[in-house]
Symmetry: C2
Subunit: 146 residues, 2 copies
Amino acid sequence: MEQKLNVLTLGVRDLDASRRFFVDGLGWKPHLDVPGEVIFLQVGHALLLSLWDREAMAAEAGEFYRGSDAMPITLAHNVDSEDEVTAVLDRATAAGGSIIGAAQSRDWGGVSGYFADPDGFRWEVVYNPDLAFGPDGTITFAPPPA
Amino acid sequence: MEQKLNVLTLGVRDLDASRRFFVDGLGWKPHLDVPGEVIFLQVGHALLLSLWDREAMAAEAGEFYRGSDAMPITLAHNVDSEDEVTAVLDRATAAGGSIIGAAQSRDWGGVSGYFADPDGFRWEVVYNPDLAFGPDGTITFAPPPA
């Protein structure tokens, strides 16, 4: 498992409030803004901050985001194929991590699974064919299907 | 406030368990490892993952990390001077953020303060004269004082 983080996702209760703070207030420019769902902001070389509606996050990523002690964050590690998702989850298991969501196809067109590190922080291993991290640090989302 | 994240800190309960998982298990190489205190791992271009003993984190970063609903994470934004710490905290306040820890000198030789975004995620604005993020993405810690 390569030593890298590509996306930090924060589950937010009110995406409009997040937009007012980060975009209107701080002047940050969204890379992608899907009202009511998610805002992606590039916060470094090949690094995204994702502000995801917390209910949508829980619906996709599982009930573990709803508990009273849940930490609504995900550290995402992007890979280049479906097979690599499985391979990295296996590697994380062998290292002592806990699989908390097996690899599966997602509505947005990719495949991902989740493991927890020793403190329960959740890592998502993701293959997203529509999202590319260039060697120069640029990030490209494919246009949504027509 | 520049649109960037430099350090993601996770408060960990057992730093040795974290080392077994990330270093021994996944094979990741620490950038800096201070047993009993903190492990820094470079996880991208100019990006650090910091695994910080949760008690030490609470002692420095405040009681807000001890509550039952506390999320023991910090998103750090590094700047180049003490004045900039204050300026960025002011900007975050003007944007609607809440200051949860005024800028102050820290034991490790720098200055930092904390604000909360609309969901209570904590951002640290940091001036650390011993930590440099190079334009090519390399990260340099100054050697500790003799």
